[in-house]
């Protein structure tokens, strides 16, 4: 089974994240591999161990995105594909899905696995956008994935429990962080990752015109953005035996009790 895992480099969610003057994500600060993608890579490696085949990473991003690829490669995947082009920065989700779908068409995957969302956009739309473009199934929000020949079954996490969803491959699956415990890359894995092939694809390679993507081709635009005023700290009381009562007094004054 050939598996492609979608990975993305994102600004560190623990840092101070900003938009640039033109309203696109500021990627100049600390960048990391999107956390949820580690779970996608782990799931792919487990499926590979059980069913054979290859695991290939796919990302779209600037030069620095190769750091995220190397980090994910260190966990064990075989190879990576990096879609990189000067026209791409500022691409909206619609354009991104067009580019990734074009790249996926060249990769002949039985299964595409993605993290359920990225920590920067948190848009959750990519798997369904790709499925729509490729005419294949999307099984999203999985906390469990099983493969039996060409039959794929997931447990889709819902508010009150889960749904069992099935499809035949090829398909796109997205996974939550409840699905597994990602392995830590070993020293050997890190060294090996440096030598693994990372193939670069440009828009021209994919037959997409520069005007269809990036800021120029974006289907939406940011008109203004501002730092949200920080919340100011209110009153704090030390519990000297009546902390619970003080709490309820506050809640009563605010009409919650």
């Amino acid at each position: 089974m050939n598996i492609v895992v979608l990975v993305k480099q994102v600004p560190d969610s623990g840092g101070d994240r900003r938009l640039t003057a033109d309203g696109t994500t500021d990627r100049s600060g600390g960048n990391v591999l999107n956390e949820m993608d580690e779970y996608a890579v782990e799931e792919a490696l487990r499926l590979q161990a059980a069913h054979g085949g290859t695991v290939t990473l796919l990302t779209m991003g600037p030069e620095t995105a190769v750091e995220a690829l190397r980090k994910a490669l260190a966990m064990g995947p075989d190879a990576a594909v990096h879609v990189i082009d000067d026209a791409l920065p500022g691409s909206c989700a619609v354009a991104t899905s067009k580019v990734l779908a074009a790249a996926l068409r060249t990769l002949d995957a039985d299964l595409v696995i993605a993290g359920a969302e990225s920590t920067d956009g948190r848009v959750q739309v990519m798997p369904h956008m790709l499925a729509e473009r490729l005419g294949i199934a999307a099984l999203t929000g999985a906390r469990k994935v099983t493969v039996d020949g060409s039959a794929l079954t997931i447990e889709r996490q819902t508010d009150g429990g889960y749904e069992v969803v099935t499809a035949a491959t090829p398909a796109v699956v997205s996974v939550w962080d409840t699905i597994n415990d990602p392995r830590y890359p070993s020293f050997k894995g890190i060294m090996a990752a440096k030598k693994k092939p990372v193939r670069r694809l440009s828009l021209a390679d994919l037959g997409i015109a520069p005007g269809e993507v990036g800021v120029a081709g974006a289907s939406s635009e940011v008109l203004a953005h501002d730092r949200r005023p920080a919340r100011s700290a209110g009153a704090t009381v030390a519990d000297e035996g009546a902390g619970g009562v003080r709490l309820v007094e506050y809640l009563t004054a605010e009409k919650f009790v």
């Binding site: 600004p11 969610s13 623990g14 994240r17 938009l19 309203g23 909206c92 989700a93 619609v94 899905s97 920590t119 956009g121 848009v123 739309v125 369904h128 956008m129 499925a131 729509e132 294949i136 199934a137 999307a138 099984l139 999203t140 996490q157 819902t158 508010d159 009150g160 429990g161 749904e163 069992v164 969803v165 099935t166 499809a167 035949a168 398909a171 939550w176 962080d177 289907s219 939406s220 940011v222 008109l223 203004a224 953005h225 501002d226 730092r227 949200r228 700290a233 209110g234 009153a235 704090t236 009381v237 030390a238 519990d239 902390g243 619970g244 003080r246 709490l247 309820v248 809640l251 919650f256």
Partner: protein, 315 residues
């Protein structure tokens, strides 16, 4: 006035969800609201109370057994026919997924996680853990906007909607992902986390799954939902679907109570747009106090039971 489509979050079991009424309220500022309901019950009275001029009813057959794709196809057909000024969906997993498919089908711009919508169709979004507020607009196609639950207060505006059944014509490509079973693992009288107006959350400081009974008790006394930090979820104290934060749910209740939660930036990501924040933590330096409107520095095992008793006394 131009028609604005609202895709309802409603079911026979749960009725019309509050976010649907919020979307109707927002839609009225843009144009004349029509609601699309998937299912067999049109909820015309409830939707009419909040200004629905029309209800499009798409029967459950051929839709319920599959994941989102058939809904997107039905909506795309309707959008091509009535050419609405905008389409509003709930910013839930399913709402966003449908919106994503529509954006591709219609080559339209998509704005997710909106907290406000202006009459001209621009949307205000809270991004990066609510640290940045963005005003954005769609440049191409029909504006597809997903609204975060609890972003605005629904206001009634009585209307008598016309109910129009929709022909459901889905394709084979829409039937690829089949839902074979729906399992409810946990059902209770508590309000749903993202819709609740009060949320009481516990963190690592709660210490064990058993002690979460304290969190639940306070939530029940306040009529609220229960949430948890990631540390509490990872430690097995409480199930993942109740996680609040960066990789969990985003909540925006009137009152958020944080018990034994330090207030890491990834936790704030899911709760800092709450109207009022109250914290109990034994560490006076805990960052949660920086955003709390009221804080008690103390042991939650003493403070919370005392608060529960006090509420009972006042009841």
């Amino acid at each position: 006035m131009a028609e604005v489509l609202v895709v309802a979050e409603a079911s026979a079991a749960a009725g019309v969800k509050k976010v649907t009424l919020e979307m109707l309220t927002a839609a009225r500022t843009i144009g004349s609201p029509s609601v699309v309901v998937f299912g067999d019950e049109p909820f015309a009275d409830k939707l009419g109370e909040h200004g629905a001029e029309r209800v499009y009813l798409a029967g459950a057959a051929d839709i319920d057994d599959f994941l989102v794709a058939p809904k997107a196809t039905v909506l795309a057909d309707l959008i091509r026919r009535v050419r609405p000024a905008a389409v509003l969906l709930a910013s839930t997993q399913e709402g966003k997924e449908i919106a994503g498919r529509l954006a591709v089908k219609l080559d339209s711009g998509l704005l997710t996680d909106a907290v406000a919508v202006a009459p001209d169709g621009t949307a205000t979004q809270a991004v990066f853990a609510g640290q940045v507020i963005v005003t954005a607009r769609v440049r191409r196609g029909v504006p597809l906007i997903t609204l975060r639950p609890n972003s605005l207060t629904p206001s009634p505006a009585p209307a008598t909607p016309v109910v129009e059944p929709l022909a459901v014509a889905v394709t084979d490509a829409d039937r690829l992902a089949r839902v074979t079973e729906r399992v409810v693992e946990r059902k209770g009288a508590r309000p749903e986390l993202t819709e609740a107006s009060i949320v009481v959350s516990g963190g690592r400081g709660v210490g064990s799954a058993d002690s979460f009974a304290l969190v639940e008790e306070l939530a029940d006394l306040l009529g609220g939902a229960v949430g948890a930090s990631r540390a509490a979820v990872d430690s097995g104290f409480y199930p993942h679907q109740f996680q609040v934060g960066q990789t969990g749910k985003t909540v925006s209740p009137q009152l958020y109570v944080a018990l034994g939660i330090s207030g890491a930036i990834q936790h704030r990501a899911g709760m800092q747009t709450s109207k009022t924040i109250v914290a109990v933590n034994k560490d006076p330096e805990a960052p949660i106090f920086e955003l709390a409107d009221f804080g008690v520095v103390g042991d939650l095992f003493k403070v919370v039971p005392q608060a529960a008793d006090e509420i009972r006394k006042r009841a």
